[in-house]
């Protein structure tokens, strides 16, 4: 749940959404992402940091540049709590079936 909240919070900003849009066609360095956006390059770096913390983008070093790309696991962050919730719920459900069956046998 914390993950999902972080993802939604990260997306609650038009500039960050614009930054993500710029990465949809492939990895890009910060300078290229910042070009044409109405904010400074340090601001873009800050936005990228938030997106990275939310698991939406990731980066790698290429010489002195940082290349950002969309983190394919970002969707997983959104779904993580549901995944985890249903897994634990079904495990508890199976245990209850087991428990109540045993009780009936007695």
């Amino acid at each position: 749940m914390a993950n999902a909240e972080r993802v939604f919070a990260a997306l609650n900003d038009p500039t960050r959404r614009a930054v993500l849009e710029r990465l949809r066609d492939g990895p890009r360095p910060v300078g290229e992402i910042a070009r044409g956006l109405p904010v400074t390059r340090p601001a873009v770096s800050q936005h990228l940091k938030v997106l990275k913390e939310a698991g939406l983008v990731d980066d790698r070093s290429e010489g002195t540049r940082r290349i950002y790309h969309i983190d394919p696991k970002g969707l997983g962050a959104m779904r993580a709590w549901l995944d985890q919730f249903w897994n634990s719920a079904l495990t508890a459900f199976a245990a209850e079936v087991e428990r109540s069956s045993k009780k009936e046998d007695k």
Binding site: L11, P72, L75, A94, V97, S100
Partner: protein, 156 residues
């Protein structure tokens, strides 16, 4: 955006050592005996969730102080093989009457027991709602477009 790629549904399966009839019964009328107590909506402590055994039946949370909080409703009621519930909780676990995601549960005979397959789908609607709550004005480049970005995992 002509085609919208949807996020994959959340799927989970489990094998239980009981016939489908019994598995279905424990899942529905016995939901209060296995539902995680930590997952609740109301202020008060959770007594148990309740699924009314019919199409259109309510799915709600009963709290220890007697208050009730809606979770969703029953869309398909086909004991002992299939159940579809409408889940109307946001990622923040708040009830939203305009949000409708589906939870389908199938009960299939498997050896001497039952295989239970759960699928929680239409999650992109959850994204729509969550975004809508934070921003009343949505435009191009909004959530649906972004979801498409994330959903297209294979392309990376």
């Amino acid at each position: 955006m002509s085609t919208q790629i949807r996020p994959a549904p959340v799927r989970s399966s489990v094998h239980v050592n009981a016939a489908p009839e019994r598995a279905f019964e424990v899942f529905t009328s016995g939901i209060g005996r296995w539902w995680p107590k930590s997952h609740k909506i109301g202020q008060a402590d959770l007594d148990r969730p309740v699924i009314e055994p019919q199409v259109g039946g309510r799915w709600y949370e009963l709290d220890v102080d007697g208050s009730e909080c809606e979770i969703g409703e029953v869309l398909v009621w086909e004991p002992p093989s299939r159940l579809v519930l409408i889940w109307q909780l946001t990622p923040e676990f708040a009830y939203d009457p305009n949000l409708k995601t589906e939870v389908e549960v199938r009960f299939t005979p498997d050896g001497e027991g039952t295989r239970v397959d759960l699928e929680h789908r239409d999650l992109e609607r959850m994204g729509d709602k969550a975004e809508a709550m934070r921003e009343t004005v949505s435009g191009p480049g909004g959530w649906p477009a972004l979801l498409q970005l994330y959903a297209d995992e294979a392309k990376i």
